[in-house]
């Protein structure tokens, strides 16, 4: 394929320029996706009184929204693989808006479940995944910074939405607020409009677009590499293989992906519960309501600063090649914070805890998707993120209720903190050990590949189907190669771009 040969000489991801505008769009989009469900809690008491329901029935709304946002990940991934990020985010923004606007006219709690829970949740899912994916397409060298900046959207949006929601509620009641929030969510469409499509390298996409008119789709499919050749060769394929085009299930054979999946699924068991229980714990120790809310504000502010800072640190040449270790350290640090929390009984102690928690939380969140991209490469990241979110969905939903059960049985918050801390330290240690093993295996495979390259046999093995795809994917890991072995310079960069 002559076009692919040219791709070797094409520039890699821009790492700047329009990319920073895309980061801003992702900032807005990710911010809404994470902060919006949390911001809705202000309305719940009023809605509970209005419909005469119990508190747990109202809490279902939040749970359904969260479940849909994470559970619809694979659907999001498939749509991005098929249509690209931009249409999906714009459609998602539209869906969110429609969901909230129709929620303003609801007459029963069941209708709220559907409008706010399912429809808006699904819209937010269509916002979250593509935003993360497109960062991987626009950045390589500066990707950790871009990720850190984009993920900082979550605490910033939360700090904006919380007082905004209170203001809207005081002036318009819950129905009017939902109507206006629906309009505000339409701003996700604006963010989506900024996501200009970009191929694996501008050169091949451009020539094909100009030559074959509306075959922009082909440019996207070249990302899937050998899969495309398969389509051309075979006529009728069975459903499963077609599915694999759009959602790469072969990732389950990818060592790095499996390590990431297991570690993260474990981590999320203890990730969100402390935030949910921080204010009640503070009130339990006798602190008044406003000071307890202030703790959460401290957390958000430290989080806001920590995320871009972590991005910058992760991008430095000492950390980037070993970014998986940094991630494991961040998780273990987070766990250590929770384990030490029961020792903080005074208000100052809790403030210190909140600050460190905010720092640790920001560090983990900033690198959440960066490490996945680092392991599987930008090409397969689309499918990877969908599969990871649906797996995390279960543990994310189980975390706070398990914490609640612990608190109810023992009557003491410290067991919940100990459980969360222990789970996260375990996850961090697991990831650290397994990534050490993974790095060694990657180094070994790299040596074998170099030995093969000495052979006059062609390195362009992409045309030989899945088997070589696996080989290529293990080379995806060392995207850090461009940074680690500067002596190898251009050649390695080309390799990294090819896989991207």
């Amino acid at each position: 394929m002559p076009a692919r040969a040219e791709a070797g000489r094409a520039p890699g991801p821009p790492d700047g320029g329009w990319g920073w505008v895309v980061v801003f769009g992702a900032f807005v989009s990710i911010g809404f996706a994470y902060a919006f469900p949390k911001g809705l809690a202000i309305f719940f008491k009023e809605i509970q009184d209005f419909f005469g329901t119990s508190y747990s029935e109202i809490a279902w709304v939040s749970s359904i929204m969260l479940a849909t946002t994470y559970g619809a990940g694979p659907i999001s991934s498939i749509l991005v693989n098929r249509y690209g990020s931009r249409p999906v985010v714009m459609f998602g923004g539209l869906l969110c808006g429609v969901g909230m606007i129709s929620a303003a006219f609801c007459t029963s709690i069941l209708q709220l479940y559907i409008c706010v829970g399912f429809i808006t949740g699904f819209g937010l899912a269509l916002n979250l995944q593509p935003s993360v994916i497109i960062i991987g397409k626009y950045f390589l060298k500066r990707r950790p910074i871009a990720n850190g900046l984009a993920m900082a959207g979550s605490p910033v949006m939360l700090c904006t939405l919380a007082p905004l929601n209170q203001f809207l509620f005081d002036n318009f009641g819950w129905r009017g607020s939902f109507l206006i929030l629906g309009a505000i969510l339409l701003n996700c469409c604006v963010a989506g409009a900024l996501f200009r499509p970009i191929g694996p390298g501008p050169a091949p996409v451009k020539t094909q677009v100009t030559e074959k008119g509306k075959d922009a789709l082909k440019g996207k499919i070249t990302e899937d590499g050998p899969m495309e050749n398969k389509t051309e060769e075979e006529g009728e394929k069975d459903c499963f293989e077609k599915v694999n085009q759009y959602l790469d299930f072969s990732l389950f054979k990818h060592r790095g992906f499996l390590i990431y999946l297991i570690g993260n699924v474990l981590m999320f068991l203890g990730f969100f519960a402390p935030i949910v229980f921080l204010a009640p714990y503070a009130k339990h120790t006798g602190i008044d309501e406003y000071s307890a809310a202030f703790l959460l504000s401290i957390l958000a502010i430290v989080d806001m600063v920590a995320r871009p800072t972590t991005g910058i640190v992760a991008n430095s040449r000492w950390v980037r090649p070993r970014i998986q270790y940094f991630f494991s350290f961040a998780i273990a640090f987070n766990g250590a914070c929770h384990l030490l929390c029961p020792l903080a009984s005074s208000y100052t102690g809790l403030i210190v805890y909140s600050s460190f928690f905010g720092l640790a939380f920001g560090m983990v969140c900033a690198m959440l998707f960066e490490t996945l991209m680092d392991l599987v490469g930008a090409a397969r990241f689309t499918s990877a993120v969908g599969l990871v979110t649906i797996a995390e969905c279960c543990t994310i939903l189980l975390g706070p209720p398990i914490g609640g059960i612990l608190i109810d049985t023992f009557g003491d918050y410290k067991y919940m903190f100990i459980k969360c801390g222990a789970v996260m330290v375990l996850a961090g240690t697991f990831l650290f050990i397994m990534n050490y093993y993974n790095y060694r295996m990657l180094a070994k495979e790299e040596k074998e590949r170099k030995a093969k390259e000495e052979d006059p046999k062609s390195v362009r093995t992409e045309n030989e189907g899945k088997k070589n795809w696996n080989q290529d994917s293990t080379q995806d890991g060392p995207e850090l190669e461009p940074l680690r072995e500067k002596g190898e310079g251009l050649k390695k960069e080309m390799n990294g771009t090819n896989e991207a």
Partner: protein, 308 residues
Amino acid sequence: MPATFSWRCLVRLLLLLLLLLLLCTSLSGGNPADPPMTTQDSNQTQVISVTKMKAGHELSDAATQELKPGGKQSTDVAVYEIVLPGPSEKNISLASPVKVELICKLDENSNLKNPQVTWKKGSETISHTTKTQNSWAIQVTVSGSSELGSYTCFLKAEKEVSATFHLHVPPVDGREKPMIAYIGDTAVMVCKTEYNAKTWSWYMTNGTELISIDKILPKDKYDIENPSASESRLEVHRLTTADTGVYWCEAAFDLGGSKARFDVKVLSIAEPLKPFIAVVAEVAILVTTIALYEVYSKRKAKVNQKTT
């Protein structure tokens, strides 16, 4: 180009994923996202149900006194204590006639030695008993609203310190902030208290008068429900702008009545529609601007390509 991709396949896949989604949601179901609030609520209701058995138990005001279980001895007398130096006020809610004992205690580490003690209600002095070397008490039999009020103990030595017990009927929780509702919609006001009230009544302010809701026609516009003795719910249907105003709910206890206030504002749908349209216009303008800018920059790039 996946021309052979069948829509049947896509539908099958989407159904599978929808199933997974429902599975996720069912996992989340039954588990409230914020169980600790229910935990705290249920803890509180447990405490309250225990205290409701003893009429007139202590309700501490967070701003003035720490949580302390009162009622140390027999079920006949409820005991309340303030330790000085420390928070010097205590709010005590009494729903039915009861005997209370109010104790002022001096901390051993305090500088005051052998103070002169007086108990007063308003300007009236009450005789007290010395319980121990450092504590003094009075007994009050509360049988009607006249015995409610503020009882203060004064301890005078080198300097004077005092502590006050406020005896009152249980407060009723309303809403301090105005409640917004829309024309044609229903307004719901929920009145809660911590004790069982004998009766509930609702009033609406018309000018300076209070009119009982029961007497307003048409009868089906207002719905009053009492899900329990400690809660009352007023629903006002088919709202119009004339329904804007102040509503009162009154809980009647043995020792008197207690009121809560609701400020209801009825708005037309045009009110939130204005900011809504403004935001939608902003979104439309931004999206169009971005699209036009993209078309413009692509054209410029093409022109540059052609010239170079």
